[in-house]
């Protein structure tokens, strides 16, 4: 069985280091930043905490049942960062390394809290439930029967400004299966690149894309429902 097939079939063990995508090595600016950390520049570490606290907390919340536990996991992650800092060799980006520490710790904690997340994109495939758009909206020939309406040209801004819409979206994000939520959180909320997400979560590129597609499709549907109801 190929490595890719293995990754597609089952969830990789935490910390197994079996990401299907090669790590992107740390950039020159990353290495320069790490040097500042090794020189114990407090401003550098403070900036790092400010930059990643929110994204780490959001990802931790996918794996564990409460905010209190998620905050503990984030704190443990920072202890892990401090422990490993002087041994970090830059084989991955600093960001990927930190997210991977979080994801492994959060998965372990999730197991302790009886929450395990199947990371195979195919583990939760249940027919039409995971279709981007429900089949009933298409004619038998596959063309739209109930087409999407074009949101007004200024809809993006209006949507973004409307607190209600954002709340609606947040509820929809919380309702996603955890594996989809983890991927969309890292990609679209916190802006990681595809290979960074694969390496942080130790999943294959295909898996990542399928999970992202399902998540985005559901969130689009949630916003569509909100716009139609308005």
């Amino acid at each position: 069985m190929s490595d890719r097939a293995k990754t597609l079939e089952g969830a990789p063990a935490p910390g197994a280091g079996n990401a299907a995508v090669p790590d992107v090595p740390a950039s020159a600016s990353d290495l320069a930043f790490i040097e500042r950390l090794r020189a114990r520049d407090p401003k550098a570490f403070s900036d790092l905490l400010d930059r990643y606290h929110g994204p780490l907390l959001r990802l931790a919340l996918v794996f564990v049942p409460s905010r209190a536990v998620a905050e503990e996991v984030v704190q443990e992650t920072w202890f892990g960062v401090l422990d490993g800092l002087d041994r970090f060799q830059g084989r991955s980006t600093l960001k990927t390394w930190i997210f991977r520490i979080l994801s492994n710790r959060a998965k372990t904690r999730g197991v302790r809290e009886n929450r395990t997340i199947p990371f195979s994109a195919f583990a939760d495939q249940d027919g039409d439930h995971d279709a981007a758009v429900e089949a009933a909206r298409f004619k038998p020939n596959g063309m739209w029967g109930v087409p999407p309406r074009r949101w007004e040209d200024d809809a993006p801004e209006k949507l973004l400004m409307a607190q209600q819409a954002m709340q609606h979206l947040e509820v929809a994000i919380a309702a996603l299966p955890p594996n989809q939520r983890a991927v969309v959180t890292l990609r679209d909320i916190d802006g990681l690149e595809s290979d960074e997400v694969c390496n942080a979560l130790e999943i294959s590129e295909t898996n990542q894309r399928v999970l992202l597609h399902r998540a985005r499709s559901k969130l689009r549907a949630a916003l569509e429902e909100y716009v139609e109801r308005k």
């Binding site: 905490l49 929110g54 401090l82 758009v133 999407p148 993006p156 679209d188 597609h213």
Partner: protein
């Protein structure tokens, strides 16, 4: 020719730039002819745009202070 139904399942691959040139051309040709699928793509892009505005999370001051103190107390690595 691609159906609308198929297109809705290809949108992420398309936006990610992860499809063959042939498939990409098929998607573009379909989008050129189908305003409903153009609307669908627009909705998808709007959704992704709306996601990129996360609420700010502030690290609790006591935890930050503890981490900074621990960091400050660490001996610098030995010079090689």
């Amino acid at each position: 020719m691609l159906t609308c139904h198929q297109l809705t399942e290809l949108v992420t691959e398309y936006l990610e730039g992860r499809m063959s040139l042939r498939r990409r051309l098929q998607v573009q040709m379909h989008l050129g002819m189908c305003r409903h699928c153009r609307a669908y793509l627009h909705q998808m892009k709007t959704t992704v745009g709306a996601l990129g505005r996360p609420p700010q999370e502030q690290m609790p001051a006591d935890i930050k202070a503890e981490l900074l103190e621990r960091f400050g107390g660490m001996a610098p690595p030995e010079q090689r």
